[in-house]
C-alpha cells in the first residue's frame, strides 16, 4: 500500500516540483571522506548534458548501515556505479579505508574489500546456484586472474559456497539453475554472491525490489544480520521506507544528484527539506 503511494508521490515531485526554494545547503559529511571506511569526495558525473551526480561527498563509518534514498533519477545507482568503478566519475574521488581508489579497475575493487549487488538481477543464469556463488568464492581466493589449469573446479571454494548459501537461506536451491529461481531468491542470490567476495563494505542496490512484504521483511532482517555477524559496513539503496527506517543507522537523501540531508532515521522524517523534495505527503503515513 505505502509502496504505491510513495511511487506516485515521487513521480509527482519529480515532474512538477523543484521543491524547496532555499539554497541547497552543503551538507558536511559527518566523517571526512579520507578517514571514513568508504569516502566520496566532491564527485560529479555527467551524461552529456545531464548532471547525474553533482559534487557529492559522503563519508561512511566502519560498521555503519547507511541507506541512500531519493526519488527516481536522483543519482543513486550512478553513485554506486562510480563508487564500484563500473563508471568513471567525471570529477572527484573515491576512498576506501583512507586510500584513494578512483582510478582502480572495476575488477580490482572486490579484491580490496568492496562488493555490490545489482538493481536488476545479474546472475550467471545458466549455472546452478552453487556454481554462481562458487565462482565468486574462487575469484576472491585466486585474484582477478589466475592460470589455475591443473585441477578440477570442484576443489575450489565449494564448501565455502555452500556455507554462504546456507547463510542467506538458499540451501534447498543449490542445484537449481539460477534462471529458474523465483525473483525473490534471485535477489538473495545476488546478495550471496556479493558476500562471497568477503567484503568489508557491501553496496546493495534495492535488494528488496519486487519482493512480497513477507520476503521484504525477511531480506531486511537478513541484511541487518549479516552486518551484525560479519561487522560489515553496508550502503543500501532502497525504496521501501519501512525497510529504510527500521534497519539503517543513518539515511542520506539524494535529490538531483546532490545530498540534501544525512541524518538518523528519526531526524530525516522531521527534516523539512526532505519532506519537500521526496517524502511529500507521506508524513502522516510514516
Amino acid at each position: 500500500m505505502s509502496h504505491a503511494n510513495e511511487t506516485d508521490e515521487v513521480g509527482h515531485a519529480k515532474s512538477t516540483d523543484r521543491g524547496h526554494d532555499q539554497e541547497p545547503s552543503p551538507i558536511e559529511p559527518a566523517v571526512a571522506p579520507s578517514s571514513a571506511v568508504l569516502g566520496v569526495h566532491e564527485m560529479t558525473r555527467t551524461f552529456g548534458e545531464v548532471l547525474a551526480v553533482d559534487t557529492l561527498s559522503l563519508g561512511i563509518e566502519a560498521g555503519e548501515l547507511r541507506a541512500v534514498i531519493g526519488p527516481n533519477g536522483a543519482g543513486k545507482t550512478t553513485l554506486f556505479n562510480c563508487i564500484m568503478g563500473a563508471l568513471n566519475p567525471t570529477e572527484g574521488s573515491v576512498y576506501l579505508n583512507g586510500s584513494e581508489i578512483t582510478g582502480d579497475a572495476e575488477e580490482q575493487r572486490p579484491h580490496k574489500g568492496m562488493a555490490r549487488s545489482f538493481q536488476s538481477n545479474q546472475l550467471f543464469a545458466d549455472q546452478t546456484v552453487l556454481e554462481n556463488i562458487r565462482l565468486v568464492v574462487q575469484t576472491a581466493r585466486q585474484g582477478a586472474f589466475s592460470m589455475d589449469l591443473f585441477r578440477s573446479h570442484y576443489s575450489v571454494g565449494r564448501e565455502r559456497a555452500i556455507e554462504i548459501a546456507d547463510d542467506v537461506g538458499l540451501t534447498a536451491d543449490l542445484d537449481a539453475e539460477a534462471k529458474n529461481l523465483p525473483h525473490g531468491e534471485q535477489r538473495r542470490l545476488g546478495i550471496a554472491m556479493a558476500l562471497a567476495t568477503d567484503p568489508d563494505v557491501l553496496l546493495l542496490d534495492e535488494p528488496t525490489s519486487g519482493m512480497s512484504p513477507a520476503a521484504t521483511a525477511e531480506t531486511a532482517s537478513l541484511i541487518k544480520e549479516v552486518r551484525d555477524d560479519r561487522g560489515l559496513t553496508v550502503v543500501l539503496i532502497e525504496h521501501d521506507m519501512d525497510v529504510v527506517l527500521s534497519i539503517s543507522d543513518r539515511i542520506t537523501v539524494l535529490n538531483r544528484g546532490e545530498v540534501i540531508a544525512t541524518d538518523s532515521p528519526d531526524a530525516i522524517q522531521g527534516n523539512q527539506a526532505v519532506q519537500d523534495a521526496y517524502l511529500g505527503g507521506m508524513r502522516e503515513e510514516i
Partner: protein, 374 residues
C-alpha cells in the same frame, strides 16, 4: 538410477561417472569411429575417419573461444594455417642447422608453429578483445584474410602461393604406400588413424581439463555475464586474451595433423570459407557442450561425403536389392540440405545444436522409462 537425483544430497559432488564421462566418451569415439564409418556400408575408405578426428579437434579448439568464452572468431582458419604451413615450410626447406626433410626438423617446426600461434594469439587478443563482440569477429576475419593474402603472394617462394605445398613437406617417419599413411618410429609401424587418435585424445583431454579447471569456469563466467563477472572481481580482459591463445594453439595442433593427412599445405585451408565452416560446424553440433563441436564436425563431414558419394539408394544393401532409387539429382544439393538443417537448428535452439537435441531426447526417454517402471 531412478533415485539418482533424490538420493544425492543438494550440493553434493556429482558421481564419478558424471565427472569422467567426457574422457570416457572420447575413448569410445576414437575406438568406434573408424570401424563404423569406414565400413563398406557407409563411406568405405580410411582417410575420412582421421580427417574427422582432425576437424573435431580443430572445431573443439575454436569452441573454447566461442562456446566457452563467448567470443566469435570469424578467422579461425589462420590458426589452422600456422599449424599447416610452418612445419611444412621448415621440412621442405630446412633452416640453418636443420636439414630439409628430417624428423627433428619437423618436430622443431611443430613446436615453433605452436609457440608462434601462442605468441600471435596473445598479441592479437591483447589488441582486439576489448573492442566488443562484433568488432572481435570482424577483426579476426580481417587478420585471417591478411594472412591468407600474404600466403597467396608466395613470399620468397616459401608458401607455394595458390598451388600450396605438395612435395617434400613430410618428415621421414611418415610412410606413404598407395595413399595409406603410416608412422614408422622406433622400429614400429603405426597406422595413421591411430597416430591421429593419440594426438586427438591428448588434445581433447587437455581441452577438457582447461574447461573443467577453475580457469575454465572463469571463462564461462565471462561468457555468461561479463558485467557481473567484472563486478565480482574477474579480470575479464585477461581471461579473454588467454582464451584466444589456447584456442589458437589447439587449432594449430589440428593444422599440423591436417598437413600430414593431406601430404602438404593447401591454401583453401586458410580461406574465409574454412573459417565460416568452422563456425557452422560448431553451431550445428551445439556450442554449449563439449561434444557439440565433435558432433558438428562429424555431421558436416559425414553429410558432405556420404551424400556426394551415395547416388544410388539401395535397400537392402546386398546382392538382392528390392528398391533402388537414383538420388544423384537431389544430392548435388547436399550443401542446401546441410544449410536447411543449420537453419532449423539455429531457429529452434541456437546454442543447443544436434548434440543438445540428442541429449534432450535421451533425458526424455530416461524419464519415460522411469515412469513406465514406476
Amino acid at each position: 538410477m531412478s533415485g539418482e537425483s533424490t538420493d544425492r544430497a543438494t550440493g553434493g559432488l556429482p558421481s564419478m561417472f558424471e565427472r569422467y564421462k567426457i574422457p570416457l566418451g572420447l575413448v569410445v569415439l576414437v575406438v568406434a569411429l573408424r570401424p563404423l564409418i569406414t565400413s563398406e556400408m557407409v563411406l568405405g575408405y580410411n582417410a575420412i575417419a582421421s580427417k574427422m578426428l582432425i576437424m573435431m579437434l580443430f572445431v573443439a579448439g575454436f569452441n573454447l573461444l566461442f562456446g566457452y568464452t563467448g567470443l566469435l572468431s570469424f578467422g579461425h582458419a589462420m590458426f589452422l594455417g600456422f599449424g599447416i604451413y610452418i612445419p611444412a615450410i621448415l621440412v621442405l626447406n630446412g633452416a640453418w642447422v636443420l636439414p630439409a626433410g628430417g624428423n627433428i626438423t619437423f618436430l622443431v617446426g611443430v613446436i615453433l608453429a605452436l609457440a608462434a600461434v601462442a605468441v600471435y594469439g596473445y598479441l592479437l587478443g591483447t589488441l582486439i578483445v576489448g573492442m566488443g563482440e562484433i568488432y572481435f569477429a570482424l577483426l579476426t576475419l580481417a587478420f585471417s584474410q591478411a594472412i591468407y593474402f600474404i600466403v597467396l603472394r608466395n613470399p620468397g617462394e616459401l608458401t607455394g602461393g595458390s598451388n600450396g605445398l605438395t612435395q617434400g613437406t613430410l618428415p621421414d617417419f611418415v610412410e606413404q604406400t598407395r595413399g595409406e599413411i603410416a608412422i614408422e618410429a622406433f622400429g614400429l609401424s603405426l597406422d595413421w588413424y591411430w597416430a591421429v587418435a593419440v594426438v586427438f585424445l591428448l588434445g581433447m583431454l587437455a581441452l577438457w581439463q582447461i574447461v573443467r579447471s577453475p580457469f575454465g569456469r572463469s571463462l564461462v563466467a565471462v561468457s555468461e555475464n561479463e558485467q557481473l563477472a567484472r563486478a565480482m572481481g574477474v579480470d575479464t580482459t585477461s581471461y579473454k586474451i588467454w582464451s584466444v591463445t589456447f584456442s589458437g594453439v589447439f587449432s594449430a595442433l589440428a593444422g599440423v595433423l591436417l598437413m600430414i593427412q593431406n601430404s602438404g599445405a593447401a591454401i583453401e585451408n586458410l580461406s574465409v570459407f574454412t573459417s565460416g565452416d568452422t563456425v557452422l560446424m560448431a553451431v550445428l553440433g551445439g556450442v554449449n557442450y563439449f561434444f557439440g563441436p565433435v558432433v558438428g564436425a562429424f555431421s558436416w563431414l559425414f553429410v558432405e561425403d556420404f551424400l556426394t558419394n551415395f547416388e544410388l539408394w539401395q535397400f537392402p544393401l546386398s546382392e538382392v536389392t528390392f528398391v533402388t532409387v537414383d538420388l544423384s539429382d537431389i544430392l548435388v544439393y547436399w550443401q542446401f540440405l546441410l544449410g536447411a538443417l543449420f537453419v532449423v537448428v539455429v531457429l529452434t535452439a541456437p546454442e543447443e545444436g544436434i548434440w543438445g537435441y540428442i541429449r534432450s531426447v535421451a533425458s526424455w526417454l530416461r524419464k519415460r522409462m522411469q515412469q513406465v517402471r514406476a
